[in-house]
């Protein structure tokens, strides 16, 4: 990127074929794990495209000097769009006024909390005491990035990433089982 490239130049010349897939996977991944539902008819990948639209249109101002990595910037926009949808859904369910200060997930819905507790317990059980997995799991939950975990625990980043991938598979499997259980319970 040269200093003179404008955001629009960069957007025009960007390789969207990769970004669309990555950004959609990002949105899908978040929505799969968190239980909140998007409005009917809206898919996570639509949010990915909404994010691109907003950045293109300048509704979300991208400053390449500040955020040189466009994908990372788009991810933050997707995250904020998902938060907004979840918040408005929460406000709709609970009543009350919508405010941008409304916390994303800090509500007091017992059913939700029980679900996440169960998820947490199931993941813990599925790790079968594997120390590496347990450590990575705990650190990721605390908000550490793989690089930070590596630094904190003097481990190779590659190892952390592998553990993260294994963990991801475990979590998806558990979520599938839980969803089926919930559906069956409702029937």
């Amino acid at each position: 990127m040269s200093q003179t490239d404008s955001p629009l130049d960069l957007l025009e010349n960007h390789d969207w074929s990769t970004t669309i897939i990555k950004l959609s996977a990002y949105a899908v991944s978040i929505c799969r794990i968190m239980r909140n539902q998007l409005p009917k008819g809206l898919e996570p990948e639509d949010l990915a495209m909404d994010a691109i639209d907003k950045v293109y249109a300048g509704e979300r101002k991208w400053d390449p000097q500040k955020d040189p990595n466009l994908l990372n910037y788009l991810k933050s926009v997707v995250k904020s769009l998902i938060s907004n949808h979840f918040r408005s859904e929460e406000v709709r369910i609970k009543g009350g006024e919508y405010s941008s200060e409304t916390p994303l997930l800090g509500h007091d819905n017992i059913e939700e909390e029980m679900y996440y507790q169960q998820l947490d317990q199931e993941i813990a059980a599925a790790m079968e005491g594997d120390p590496e997995l347990c450590l990575v799991y705990k650190a990721l939950k605390e908000g550490y990035k793989p690089g930070e975990i590596a630094e904190e625990y003097a481990m190779e980043v590659k190892k952390i990433r592998n553990a993260q991938k294994r963990l991801h598979r475990v979590v998806l499997k558990i979520i599938n089982i839980l969803s089926k259980e919930i559906t069956n319970a409702k029937k």
């Binding site: 404008s6 897939i21 899908v28 991944s29 794990i33 495209m49 909390e113 908000g143 793989p146």
Partner: protein, 729 residues
């Protein structure tokens, strides 16, 4: 390092880390999408199309637009060199106006130069070629028309000016072919960019032209009917005179697949629709509510299927009516099972959709899945409640217009709701270009003052033009063959969250029923009925704070009731709505009065008896559209409200006799109009059992089912509870 508050935040951190992982690598990202049941290629395809759309839109707010004052060197393109040899310089300068907004759109460019051309007809906007239509096989369209058709394919995009080139309007065929193949179309001083799909279109179009640039009208008509092009030209259809059509006996056949009988006027309607399909003319079926538009169109579909006129038919309906359409098909043509494209489990496969004879989908799905529908050339696209596309710029209309079809038919009882633009929007959808551009139409017919608009003498011309492509019968026109009371049972489907809550309640009742707590069950059954009236009735505070938008988004039934009320308003008639819940009555009063700007009358137990008649009198005296909300138990007997000729049973009564009595407030002696009675009910819920009871009752010649027969009722209650919205009937 973030400080986390609770477990949910921690899981959110985890989710984000996995999402980062998913986005870190293309292979991983694709795997994540596939694991979630999504097709990465479809997402990419859809995404790239959207990027193109974003790029072409002008909403860009970044200041340093690189399109401004830029010289684009096209010299590198060898295939364009022949164009620049005699030019002032070898570099083609593409000039733009200073601001994006001043750059002409393709449409503006066309209108600027096509207007100047000496066509045989004076107006380029709506070239009338009805003579040629009469003899499709023998006539040819001129090269001028060919040119316009090609230009209207909506692919010409870039509008820069190339200085000093091309003085003649019509290039010879070889030059056109060469320029088109090079990816550009140069016309006069304008260079049009052609995209990939446009090239395919343009090349096939050129092949269909003869040496002199003319084209057989039949072939041109097929381009026209695919609607890939032609916004400024239309084939002026012969007058669709219903008497001529029915008198010709050409279209009198009905399909064996259609197992019910049609009324006489419906048979005529069917013939009119057949005529439209055979002659590739888009039409509007604008019959009054209750005249059986659905029956006529299903009869048409049965005929189209049997005669194989069209391979595939797409029906677009409001989401609330999908279940109703499925049932109508089962009732009228059980051998035709439509494919429902709706909900989260819908297909993403074009192949699967293509192989379906009849596909039913909703307006929202059209927007979401337009990339799917676009890939199919539909024989017939049929819109129910077509007033949904009254806004010409709405996303759903734009999406629908992009779907190609040989014939488009729109069904609506209210072709004009607010403005004549509604009508333009509908007509331009079914027959693009028939009424000219929106701007020309507005200039011609629409005045700021509605009174002036109505006085406009040209309106009679408009009426005449519209009558060519619209069949509209009023109830009074066909009263001879019509029952005075029309029962309209509307099957609705609970939305997923509504169904989930209903199901929880149902299961709770069933478990208590098995424990033998009968008294409690009755109360819970009432709760279910309350729930089907409106889910928010159990939360009075929320109910009273909700506006009309919240109320319709949380209840399919409320939404449908509003659609029906809109239609009644457009015919300026009066309606009675029956519900036994006082809170619901209050909500109707509050929201409908502000929504429609009229006083909403009501009768319920809170009102003194002498006040009730006063309320009826005021309702009767009120002008035009009027709504009265009543409790069927309080107002079900003894009152005479013949000013209303529509009745909506919003909360269904367990005892059918109560509903009949309520209906009799409007449907009685002195009623001069036909009465429409709407029964709104959710499928696979207790309401369906109630609806069936009512239907059974009408066949049992007046038998009255006693509400005091608790043992029978209890058994029926329990039967009713066996209906689950999550299990197919």
């Amino acid at each position: 390092m973030p400080k986390n508050k609770n477990l949910i935040d921690k899981i959110a951190n985890l989710a984000e880390s996995f999402a980062d992982l998913a986005a870190s690598d293309l292979v991983e990202a694709r795997a994540v999408l596939s694991a979630a049941g999504k097709n990465p290629d479809t997402i990419l395809d859809k995404g790239m199309k959207r990027i193109e759309k974003i790029r072409s839109s002008k909403k860009n707010n970044y200041k340093n637009n690189p399109m401004q004052e830029e010289n684009v060197n096209l010299d590198a393109r060898d295939d364009l060199k022949f164009l620049t040899q005699e030019a002032e310089s070898a570099t083609i300068i593409i000039e733009h106006d200073k601001y994006d907004s001043e750059i002409l759109s393709a449409e503006e460019v066309f209108s600027t130069f096509i207007k100047k051309q000496p066509f045989r007809n004076s107006s380029y906007q709506n070239l009338k070629v009805s003579d040629e239509v009469k003899a499709l096989k023998f006539h040819k369209i001129t090269k001028e028309l060919c040119f316009i058709i090609k230009m209207q394919a909506e692919y010409a995009k870039v509008v820069p000016v190339i200085k000093g080139r091309q003085e003649n309007i019509f290039l010879n065929n070889n030059t056109i072919q060469l320029t088109i193949k090079s990816g550009y179309y140069i016309h006069k001083e304008v260079c049009f960019f052609l995209d990939k799909e446009s090239l395919v279109f343009a090349e096939s179009f050129l092949k269909d032209q003869d040496q002199s640039g003319q084209m057989a009208l039949g072939k041109a008509l097929s381009y026209f009917s695919k609607r890939n092009c032609l916004r400024w030209i239309t084939f002026n259809p012969d007058i669709l005179d219903i008497k001529k059509i029915t008198g010709s006996n050409v279209y009198s056949k009905e399909s064996n697949l259609f197992i019910r009988d049609l009324y006489g006027y419906q048979k005529e309607g069917l013939q009119w629709l057949q005529y439209c399909c055979i002659n590739r003319i888009g039409g509007i079926l604008g019959d009054d509510m209750g005249l059986g538009k659905t029956a006529q169109t299903i009869a048409l579909i049965a005929w189209l299927t049997e005669t194989d006129v069209f391979k595939n038919i797409l029906i677009v309906v409001p989401g609330t009516l999908i279940e109703n359409w499925r049932r109508e098909f089962a009732f009228f043509t059980p051998d035709i099972v439509p494919y429902i494209h709706h909900g989260t489990l819908r297909t993403g496969s074009v192949k699967l959709l293509e192989t379906q004879r009849v596909v039913i989908t909703s307006y929202s799905m059209i927007i979401n899945d337009q990339f799917l529908f676009n890939k199919i050339n539909w024989g017939l696209v049929l819109l129910d409640e077509a007033s949904h596309i009254k806004n010409p710029n709405s996303e759903r209309r734009v999406s629908l217009k992009n779907i190609s079809a040989n014939v488009r038919i729109a069904m609506t009882g209210t072709p004009v709701e607010n403005s004549l633009v509604d009508l333009w929007s509908l007509v331009d959808y079914v027959n693009p270009g028939y009424l000219g551009t929106k701007e020309a139409f507005s200039e011609r017919y629409i005045r700021k003052d509605i009174e002036k608009t109505l006085q406009e003498s040209s309106l009679s011309n408009l009426r005449k033009d519209i009558s060519h492509i619209m069949l509209r019968r009023k109830k009074e026109d066909v009263l001879d063959s019509l029952p005075i009371k029309i029962d309209i049972h509307q099957a609705l489907e609970l939305s997923f969250p509504e169904a989930q809550l209903y199901e929880q309640q149902r299961e709770s009742i069933l478990s208590q029923a098995s424990a033998g707590e009968k008294g409690h069950i009755l109360k819970l059954i009432q709760d279910l009925r309350q729930y089907t009236t409106h889910p928010l009735l159990s939360e009075p505070n929320k109910l009273h704070n909700s506006d009309i938008k919240d109320l319709s988004s949380s209840s399919t039934k409320f939404k449908r009731a509003l659609e029906i009320l809109d239609e009644i308003r457009s015919s300026q008639e009066k309606v009675l709505i029956f519900t036994e819940y006082l809170n619901m009555i209050d909500v109707f009063k509050r929201t409908l009065s502000s929504h429609y700007g009229i006083e909403i009358f009501n009768i319920d137990g809170r009102m003194e008896i002498n006040e009730r008649q006063q309320s009826i009198d005021r309702f009767t005296e009120s002008k035009d559209f009027g709504i009265m909300v009543l409790n069927p138990k309080t107002a079900g007997m003894g009152l005479n409200i013949t000013a209303a000729n529509h009745v909506i049973h919003y909360t269904r009564q367990w005892n059918p006799a109560l509903e009949e009595q309520a209906t009799a407030r409007a449907y009685r002696n002195k009623q001069t109009k036909g009465v429409n009675v709407y029964y709104l009910f959710y499928t696979n819920t207790i309401e369906e059992i109630i609806d069936n009871r009512l239907k059974a009752k009408t066949t049992l010649s007046g038998e009255v089912i006693s509400i005091t027969d608790t043992e029978t009722s209890m058994q029926e209650y329990l039967n009713a509870l066996s209906k689950s919205p999550f299990k197919n009937p």
